[in-house]
C-alpha cells in the first residue's frame, strides 16, 4: 500500500475510534451526570489549544519536535475531531443567545476555512504544475514589469516601423490595463479562460487591418499576452494558497479568546445551577 494512502487510513481509523469512544462515553455520562458538558467542553478546549500550537511550532523550526508533515496530519484529523466534540458539546442544538451564536459562527468559519484550505492545498499545486511557468511569488511583479516593457516597446516601435498607429491604439485601448497589473483573478481561480480567449480573439480580428510586418508584431504580442496570463494564473493561485491562512489563523485566535470568555462565564454563572 502506498505511503499516503496508508497514513490516511491510519489517521482516519484513529479519528473514527476516538469519535466513537468519546460519543459512547458522552452518551453514558449524559444520562448519569449533568457535568458531561464540562467534560466535552474541556476536551474540546484542550484539543483547540493543541491545534493553535501548530502555528507556534512552525515558528521554531530548530526545536527537534518532529516533522511538520506529521504535525499537520495531526492538525487536520484533530481538527475534524473537534467537530465531533463540538456537536456533542452543544448536544446537536443550534445555540441560543448572541454570545453562543458568535462562538459557533467563529468555530464554523475556522473549521470551514481549514477544510477549504486543506482542499486547495492538496489540489491546487497540481494545477500550478500542470499549467507550467513556475515562478516564485515575490518575483511576479518584476516579471510583470518586464513583460509590460516588452509589450510597450513592441507597440511603440510598430508606429515608426509600419507608419501606422493601429497596434499602438489597440495597445492603449485593450492591452495597457492588462499588462499594468494582475487581471482576471476569479477566472483563474475557477479555471475559466474566457477573458484570455476574448483578448486573443480581438488580437486575431485586428490582423485584418494590419500589413505583414504588423502581423509579426501582433504574433509577438500574443506570446506576451499568454505569458502575462500565465503569470496572473500563478499569482491568483499562489496568493489564495497563502491568503486562506490570513482568515484561518486570526479567527483561530479570536475563537480561542471567545472560548476562554465562554469558560469564565460558564463557571461564573453555573454555581447556582449545580
Amino acid at each position: 500500500m502506498r505511503g499516503f494512502l496508508r497514513r490516511r487510513l491510519l489517521w482516519g481509523s484513529l479519528l473514527v475510534a476516538a469519535s466513537v469512544a468519546v460519543a459512547s462515553v458522552y452518551v453514558v455520562w449524559a444520562g448519569a451526570t449533568t457535568r458531561a458538558a464540562y467534560l466535552s467542553g474541556w476536551l474540546l478546549f484542550a484539543v483547540m489549544v493543541l491545534l493553535t500550537g501548530y502555528n507556534w511550532f512552525k515558528k521554531i523550526p530548530y526545536l527537534p519536535l518532529g516533522r511538520s508533515e506529521v504535525w499537520l496530519e495531526f492538525h487536520i484529523y484533530a481538527g475534524l475531531f473537534t467537530g465531533v466534540l463540538f456537536l456533542l458539546h452543544v448536544r446537536l442544538r443550534w445555540p441560543t443567545g448572541w454570545f453562543e451564536i458568535v462562538l459557533t459562527v467563529l468555530y464554523a468559519i475556522v473549521m470551514v476555512s481549514g477544510v477549504l484550505g486543506i482542499i486547495i492545498s492538496r489540489g491546487w499545486p497540481k494545477r500550478l504544475t500542470a499549467r507550467g511557468g513556475e515562478v516564485p511569488y515575490d518575483r511576479i511583479p518584476v516579471i510583470r514589469r518586464q513583460l509590460r516593457e516588452q509589450a510597450e516597446a513592441l507597440a511603440l516601435n510598430s508606429v515608426a516601423e509600419a507608419k501606422s498607429a493601429t497596434i499602438a491604439e489597440f495597445y492603449t485601448r485593450r492591452l495597457h490595463d492588462f499588462f499594468a497589473g494582475p487581471q482576471n483573478f476569479l477566472s483563474h481561480l475557477v479555471e475559466v479562460r474566457l477573458p484570455l480567449n476574448a483578448l486573443l480573439n480581438e488580437l486575431g480580428d485586428l490582423n485584418r487591418f494590419l500589413n505583414e510586418q504588423e502581423r509579426k508584431v501582433t504574433a509577438q504580442l500574443v506570446t506576451l499576452v499568454r505569458q502575462k496570463d500565465g503569470l496572473d494564473y500563478q499569482r491568483a493561485l499562489q496568493l489564495t494558497l497563502r491568503l486562506w491562512l490570513f482568515v484561518h489563523i486570526p479567527l483561530t485566535y479570536s475563537l480561542m479568546l471567545w472560548a476562554i470568555a465562554h469558560i469564565v462565564l460558564v463557571y461564573g454563572f453555573s454555581a447556582g445551577a449545580r
Binding site: 502506498r2 505511503g3 499516503f4 512552525k58 515558528k59 521554531i60 523550526p61 530548530y62 526545536l63 527537534p64 519536535l65 518532529g66 516533522r67 511538520s68 508533515e69 504535525w71 499537520l72 492545498s121 492538496r122 491546487w124 499545486p125 497540481k126 500550478l128 504544475t129 513556475e134 516564485p136 511569488y137 499562489q238 494558497l241 497563502r242
Partner: protein, 575 residues
C-alpha cells in the same frame, strides 16, 4: 542605522598556514628527501614555489604506537608521506567502528537549541568573534588529541595489514578525489614521523612536477589497486600470484577535466549538453576489450534509441561495465556479443580497465559459474525481451526516462543530499525557506527555485556532492568535508571571501554574503571594504533534528535525497 567600526585584516593565501610551527630548517630537511629532492624548483610558479608549498601547505606530524593516522570512512583532504618509522594499513575487512574511536558529531546540546529562542541575532549574517577565531577544521595544533588502538599486537595477529615504510605516500586518492578514506592506517612504534600535505599543496605539487605524479601512480598500482580489486567480488578468489598478474596488466584511464564545472557551465549556458558530445569510454557494438571499473567520478550508461541515445543509468565509483559481455563470451566461446551499452564520461572520470585476455585467462576461471553474470538470451540480444539484470540496470524505467535524462543532463547524480521538491504537493508556502533562515543566521541557505522536470524541481541548494568541485581551488581549505556525515561545509574562520567555490559550483548553491558583528554593523577590513564570506547549506549539521527545510515542509513535498540511490527516489515518487 548601522555604524561601521569593526576592522579586521582581509585574509590572504597562506595567512593561515597548515602548521605555523613549520620552520625553514624543516623545509631544508624535506628538500633533501625524495620525492622533493628530485623536483625541479624552476618548474614551480613564483607565487607558489616548492619551498612555500612545503612551508605553508604541509606539516610534520609524529605519531605514537597504535595511533590512528587515517580511518576508513573519514573524509580527509590531505595526503601523507612516511618520513621515518612505520605505519600499517589494515586490509579488508577492516577494523570495527568501536575500535576506531569515532568521535561524536558536534551537535548543539538540547539547551543550546532551546536557547536559540533568545540568542538568535536580530540581524542576518551575524558572526560572533568566537566563530571567526575558531578553526576546528584545518588548523594545526600541537595539542591535537589522537585516537589510539589499544592492542596493536592482537590487531596485527587478527587482521591482514600491509606495512608503509619511509618514502611511501598514502591518502592522495581520497584527498584529490574528495572521497572517503578506504582504509585505516595506524602508526607502529613511537618513532613514526609523517609529512602531511593538504590537498591544495598536493594539487600544486602534481601540477608542477611529474615526479610525484609518477611516484603516486607507481604506489597506487603496487598498493591501492590490490586493495581496490580485493573489494570487488569477482576478484576476491584470486591468489596473490594471480592478483599480481592482473595488477600488472591493468590499465588506468582518466577522462574529462578534473575541474569540470567550468566546462559544464559553459555548455549549460550554450544549451549544448548532449550525450553525443561526451567522451566515449566504451561504445555499444564494439568488441569488449576489457572490464571497466569506475574508480572515481561518474559515467553515463546509455543505449541507442531511435536516432539518439537513451540514458539507462549513471555509474559511480565502484561500478563495473562490460563484465556481463566478457563472461558471456567466455562461457559461450562462439558468437561473441559486443558491448550492449555505451559508457560516456560525465565531467571527470577515473577508470581501471582489466583487459579481456586477463579476465579470461586469470579471473573468470576462479569464479563459480553460478556467480557469474547471467548469459544474454537470444530474445534479449534481439531487443524483444528485457532480462532481470537489464531491468535492475535500467534506472530510467524506475523513475521515468524523462526524469533520468533530466538528472543526468543537469549533473544532479552528483548529489548525495539533493533538495528535491514535488511540485504537485508543494503549496509554495515557503515554510522551508523561513525555517532555513531561522536556523541559519537569518538568511536562507537555498532558493526555492530551480530546474523542473515534470512534477519534480531540484532547488538551488547545496547537494553535498559526491564529487564536490567547489573544493577545487579553495586557497585556504575553508570549504571542506565534515568529519562525520561527509557534508560539505565552510569554515567561516578561514574563508577569505574569494568566491572561487561559489564560481566553481555548477549548481549555483554557494552565495557570498557581507557579514555583520553582533550589534548589526557590517564588518570591514582596514580598507573599509566589507568582509565577505561564502555561505551554503550545511544540512543543519549542528542541529539534532537534521535539515530544517525537510522537517518544516507541512505537505511532505521536500526531501533531501541521495541521487545515487534511485530506488529510494522511486519509492518517494510513488509514495
Amino acid at each position: 542605522m548601522d555604524t561601521v567600526h569593526f576592522v579586521i585584516d582581509k585574509p590572504q593565501r597562506w595567512d593561515s598556514s597548515f602548521d605555523p610551527d613549520m620552520t625553514e630548517a624543516d623545509v631544508n630537511r624535506l628538500m633533501e628527501i625524495r620525492p622533493f629532492s628530485e623536483m625541479d624548483v624552476s618548474k614551480f610558479s613564483k607565487r607558489t614555489p616548492l619551498r612555500g608549498i612545503l612551508r605553508n601547505d604541509a606539516r610534520i606530524r609524529r605519531f605514537k604506537n597504535g595511533e590512528i593516522i587515517v580511518r576508513a570512512g573519514d573524509y580527509g583532504s590531505s595526503a601523507f608521506l612516511v618520513l621515518s618509522g612505520h605505519a600499517r594499513v589494515v586490509l579488508n575487512p577492516g577494523l570495527p567502528a568501536s575500535m576506531l574511536g569515532r568521535r561524536k558529531s558536534q551537535y548543539k546540546s538540547f539547551f543550546q537549541i532551546v536557547a536559540q529562542l533568545w540568542t538568535n541575532p536580530r540581524d542576518p549574517e551575524v558572526r560572533t568573534a568566537a566563530e571567526l577565531e575558531q578553526d576546528s577544521g584545518v588548523k594545526v595544533s600541537g595539542k591535537q588529541r589522537g585516537v589510539f588502538l589499544q592492542d596493536v599486537p592482537r590487531i596485527l595477529d587478527e587482521h591482514k595489514t600491509a606495512t608503509m615504510a619511509p618514502g611511501d605516500f598514502f591518502g592522495e586518492i581520497a584527498a584529490l578525489s574528495r572521497a572517503p578514506r578506504t582504509a585505516t592506517i595506524f602508526a607502529v612504534g613511537d618513532q613514526t614521523e609523517l609529512l602531511e600535505v593538504r590537498w591544495q599543496g598536493l594539487r600544486d605539487l602534481l601540477r608542477f612536477d611529474d615526479h610525484l605524479r609518477h611516484h603516486i601512480d607507481r604506489i597506487y598500482r603496487e598498493r591501492t589497486l590490490a586493495t581496490h580489486l580485493r573489494e570487488i567480488p569477482i576478484f576476491e578468489r584470486l591468489n596473490d600470484e594471480q592478483l599480481k598478474r592482473v595488477i600488472e596488466q591493468t590499465q588506468f584511464g582518466t577522462y574529462g577535466d578534473y575541474d569540470w564545472s567550468g566546462d559544464y557551465k559553459r555548455l549549460a549556458k550554450e544549451g549544448t549538453r548532449s550525450p553525443e558530445k561526451e567522451t566515449i569510454i566504451a561504445q555499444e557494438g564494439d568488441y569488449p576489450n576489457g572490464v571497466v571499473l569506475i574508480r572515481s567520478g561518474f559515467a553515463r550508461l546509455s543505449q541507442k534509441f531511435g536516432h539518439g541515445h537513451r540514458t539507462l543509468n549513471y555509474l559511480s565509483a565502484g561500478c563495473e561495465f562490460g563484465l556481463r559481455e566478457i563472461a558471456h563470451n567466455w562461457l559461450q566461446r562462439t558468437d561473441s556479443v559486443p558491448f550492449q551499452q555505451t559508457l560516456r564520461v560525465i565531467g571527470y572520470t577515473h577508470v581501471i580497465v582489466v583487459p579481456t585476455a586477463v579476465m579470461e585467462e586469470v579471473v573468470l576461471p576462479t569464479v563459480p559459474e553460478d556467480e557469474l553474470p547471467s548469459r544474454f538470451t537470444a530474445e534479449e540480444l534481439a531487443g524483444t525481451e528485457q532480462s532481470e539484470t537489464q531491468r535492475k540496470l535500467d534506472a530510467g524505467a524506475k523513475i521515468g526516462p524523462e526524469l533520468m535524462e533530466f538528472l543526468t543532463e543537469n549533473r544532479y547524480f552528483n548529489g548525495t543530499s539533493t533538495m528535491v521538491i514535488d511540485m504537485e504537493r508543494c503549496t509554495r508556502c515557503d515554510d522551508c525557506v523561513r525555517a532555513c533562515a531561522t536556523t541559519n543566521e537569518g538568511n536562507p541557505r537555498f532558493l526555492r527555485h530551480g530546474q523542473i522536470s515534470g512534477r519534480i524541481m531540484v532547488a538551488n541548494s547545496c547537494m553535498h556532492c559526491a564529487d564536490p568541485v567547489c573544493l577545487i581551488g579553495c586557497p585556504t581549505g575553508a570549504i571542506h568535508r565534515g568529519q562525520v556525515g561527509g557534508e560539505v561545509i565552510v569554515n567561516q574562520a578561514t574563508c577569505i571571501g574569494c568566491s572561487i567555490c561559489s564560481n566553481n559550483c555548477p549548481y549555483e548553491a554557494i552565495r557570498m554574503v557581507e557579514i555583520r558583528e553582533e550589534d548589526g554593523a557590517f564588518m570591514v577590513d582596514k580598507d573599509m571594504k566589507p568582509i565577505v564570506k561564502a555561505t551554503k547549506c550545511d544540512k543543519c549539521s549542528d542541529q539534532i533534528g537534521g535539515p530544517a527545510c525537510e522537517r518544516s515542509c507541512p505537505h511532505g513535498a521536500l526531501r533531501r535525497l541521495d541521487m545515487n540511490n534511485l530506488d529510494a527516489f522511486a519509492r518517494w515518487l510513488n509514495r
